[in-house]
Symmetry: C2
Subunit: 509 residues, 2 copies
Amino acid sequence: MAAAPVWSVDPRTGKQREQVAVEATAQEVDATVRAAHQARGALADRTVRSALLRSAADELEAAKGTLIEVADAETALGPVRLTGELARTCYQLRAFADIVDEGAFLDVVIDHPDDTATPPVPDLRRHKVPLGVVAVYSASNFPFAFSVPGGDTASALAAGCPVVVKAHPDHPGLSELVAKVLRRAAARHGVPEGVLGLVHGFEAGVELVRHPLVAAAGFTGSVRGGRALFDAAAARPVPIPFHGELGSLNPVLVTEAAAAERAEAIGAGLAGSMTLGVGQFCVKPGLVLAPASAAGDRLVKSLTDAVSDTDAGVLLDHRMRDHFVAGVAERTRLPDVESPVTPGAGGEHTVSAGFLTVPASRLAAEGEHDLLLEECFGPVTVVVRYEDDAEVRAVLSRLPGNLTATVHLSEEEGAGQGRGAEILGELTPLAGRVLVNAWPTGVAVAPAQHHGGPYPATTSTSTSVGGTAIERWLRPVAYQNSPQALLPQELRDDNPLGLPRRFNGRLER
Amino acid sequence: MAAAPVWSVDPRTGKQREQVAVEATAQEVDATVRAAHQARGALADRTVRSALLRSAADELEAAKGTLIEVADAETALGPVRLTGELARTCYQLRAFADIVDEGAFLDVVIDHPDDTATPPVPDLRRHKVPLGVVAVYSASNFPFAFSVPGGDTASALAAGCPVVVKAHPDHPGLSELVAKVLRRAAARHGVPEGVLGLVHGFEAGVELVRHPLVAAAGFTGSVRGGRALFDAAAARPVPIPFHGELGSLNPVLVTEAAAAERAEAIGAGLAGSMTLGVGQFCVKPGLVLAPASAAGDRLVKSLTDAVSDTDAGVLLDHRMRDHFVAGVAERTRLPDVESPVTPGAGGEHTVSAGFLTVPASRLAAEGEHDLLLEECFGPVTVVVRYEDDAEVRAVLSRLPGNLTATVHLSEEEGAGQGRGAEILGELTPLAGRVLVNAWPTGVAVAPAQHHGGPYPATTSTSTSVGGTAIERWLRPVAYQNSPQALLPQELRDDNPLGLPRRFNGRLER
C-alpha cells in the first residue's frame, strides 16, 4: 500500500501547495520513538541541554527568512505576527536554557541522618530525573510557539527528555523545516538527531501515545482530540502523564462601576482582544459579563463600532472556517440571542468577526443556551447582560474550567473599596490565571506564568508556558544511605554545581 | 432495604468482634462529600491548618491507650509495632504543620513588569491553591500511618483540602475512633467536623471517586483495586488526579564482591526485612538477585537459617492468608523453582515465612516464570541466582516499576572502585528510592523522602510520604496586573508573611 501523502495547503485559497511528507506507519512511529529513546543518554549532561537550547534559538533565527515565508504560506497568520511568534519562541528556548543552568528545577533535598526523628531518618538525598521520551502534539494556531520548537519541546529537552512531535496538519511543511533546524542544533553538541522525532498523520498520533517507550505527552488543541488522547494515555497497560491544554471560554466580568467609568475603552479593548489573530487564541475572551445598564449599553455600542471596523480574516484551515460558520449560526438561532455585529462567513475563504448578546437569566440553569458555555474558535464572543451580582454568580457557577478569568474594575474598586478582592476570590476557582483590568490574549513567558486551569482548560494541574512547565517531564528519585562517591554530583554535600537546595531542612539559595 | 452492616473482625480468630458501622449509600456519600466541601473555607487560613494538625497529633496521643487496643484487636500487628506507628503518624502530622507554617510549598513567584522580555512581561504573581475535597483510600497494613490519620490525610489538610476517607474493611472500628479524634481536633479550631468525612463499603468507594465535588484522590493498596479506581478517576466527565500506590517488587541486587565480603550478614538482614510485619510492607524486598557462586550459597544458607527461626504470624485478614497460600503454591510449582524454606499456611489462622530460589535464566525472557515478577503480599521473597552481569541486566530489564531498588556493594565498590556508580545508574530508572547497603523496609518521614515510583508502584510521579506529598493537592494560579491591595497577602511585594519565594527571577530564602 502506498504511503498516504501529507500536503501543505494554502488557507488563503484552500489549494494544495505541495506534498511535504507522508503519514508515518506504525513501524515508522516505532522506529522514531526508539531513535529518540536511544538519544536520551546524550541529554544526561545539563550543560549539553542548555547549549542545545541556545543553539536551537540561534539556528531558528538564522533560518528566519525561510521559516516565516513557509509559515505564512501555510497559516495565513501574516509575517508581522509570525516574526513576533518566532522571537517569542527563541526567547522561550533561551529562558529554558537559563533554567537548566540554574538547576532549581532539580528540587534537590538532602537530609543527613537524624536519630531523633520518628522513625529515625537515614541519609536521604532526592533530586529529579527525566521521565523519558515525551510525545508532543502541536497546535494549529501557534506554528512556532506551541508547535515543533514550542514550549512543550523546549521544556522537555530542558528536562533531559527526547521528543517525538506529532506535526499539526495545518503546517506540515514548516514542521519539517523546523525539525531539521532543531536536529542541526542537536548535532552541533553531539546529540543524535533522533532526539527530535517528527511524525505526521492522525493514526501516527494515536500510535505515539500508546508506544511503550513514550513516557509522557504534551498536547495543545481541541477538547475532543485532547480527550481522546488523554483517554488513550490513561488506558495504557502503563498509564502515562498527559498534559493537555484543551479548551477555554476565558470569562470576563465587567463591573457596573467599571462600565460607568470607561465603557468605551473596555468595549474597544475587548474588540481588539477577541479579534486578535482572527480570534484563534486559546485565551480569547469568549464570554463577557456586562451590566444590563446604560453603562453596559455604552460598552456594547463601543464593541459594535470596533468590531464592525474589523477586516475579514483567514482562519487556519477551511474545516475551522466551516466549524466557525456553523457554530455561530447554531448559537444565533437560540431564543433571546442577538448579534449586534453578525459573525460568520466573509468571502469565499475568509470569516468576519462579530459578537452575540444574551440575557444572563438564559444561562442561569441548564438548557439549550448551554451551547454558549462552549468555546467557539474564531472571532466571536458572547456578551452576557446581567442585572445584579446574583446573576453574575449564577452564570459563573455554571462555567467549566478555564485558562483565564478576567475582571474589569473601577479605579475605586481596584484601590480596595468595594467588591474587588471578593471578586478575585470568586474567579480564582474558575481559572489558572486571573487578570485585573487587562485582556487575556498575550501569554508572557515568565517564571510566574501559569497557562493551565481546571478541566477542560488542562487535563492536569500543570502549565505549558513559563518556567514551571519543565516540572511535567520529571520525577523525583531519592537515594538512601549511598556513599557520596557513587552519587550524582547534584546530591553531594559540598554542592560542586552550586545548586539551590534544601539542606537538612533549610532552604539554601 | 436495611443498611449493610460493617463488622470488626479479629484476624487472630477470623471471628466478628462487633458491628461498628454500616456501609454508606450513594446518598450518604454525597452528603459526606458536600459537608467536606462546605468545610473548605475554614481551612483557608494557614495558621488554622497547622494548629489543627498539631491538635490532631495531641489528641491521638491522648487517646493512645484505646487506639492501640482496638488497632491490635483488628489487625494483630501487636502493640509494639502499633505504638511505633502511632508515634510516626503524630510525627508526620506535626511535620506537615511545620511545612504549612514555612509556606515554601506555596511556590510563590513574583514577576514585576518587564518590557525588555519577548513578549513583554506584565505584573504576574503565582502561588498555589488547594484543589478541593480529597478522597483518601486507606491501606490495610498501616492502620494509622496510611489510613484515616495518615500521610494522605495529613498532607491534604496541610494543603487546605477537606478529606473524605474510605475506611479499610480490615480496621473499621479503629477508623471510626480515629475519625472522631480528628474531628475533635478540628472543632477545637472552629473547623466544621465535616472536614473529615468517613465512609465504609466497596460501592461507597466507587461513588466517592466519581463524585463531582471530589477534586483528587490518594490511594494505597493493591494493583487491582487501585487500577480500577484510577480508571474511574480518568473516565469522569472531569478527570481528577489519582495518586495511587499500588504494588512493588522492590528488587535487591547483591554483588559478588558484597556476598564474598559479608554473605551471612546480608542473608540475615534480608530475612529480617522480608519477614518484618509478617511481610506486609509495600517495600518488602520481593526479589533478590544473588550470585550463583559459593558466596551466594552462603547467603542462601544464612537466609535459610534466619527464616527457619521466624515464628508463624497472623496476616491482616483471612482473604490475604488465602491469597498468600495460593500465590506461594502457584509459584513453587514452576520448573526450577526451589523452596529452601517453604512458605505457606502455618496454623489455622497464621502463615509461615519462607523463600524461593530460581536461576536467573528462567526470568530472562517472557514465560510462565513471569509470575515471580508479580508482588506476593506476605512473608516470602524470591532469590534469583545469577551467573554474570548480563543475567542481572536481563532480569532488571524485565521488572515493572518499583517503590525501591537496592544494591549491596562491597566496601571497595562503595568507595568508588568497581561498578558501584554504574549500578546506581542502572537501578534509578526502576524505582523512586534507591538504597545502598540497607533494606527498603522503614520509610522515614523526611523532606528528601520519595515514596513512589514508576507504575505500578504509583500511578503518578508523586510521593505519599515526605514533605513533597503536599504538592499532590494543590494547583497554581497566577494573578496578572492586579493591584496589590486586592491580592492574597502571600503575593504582596513586602512579603508580610515572610515566605520563601522567587522574586523577579531571584530565589529568596
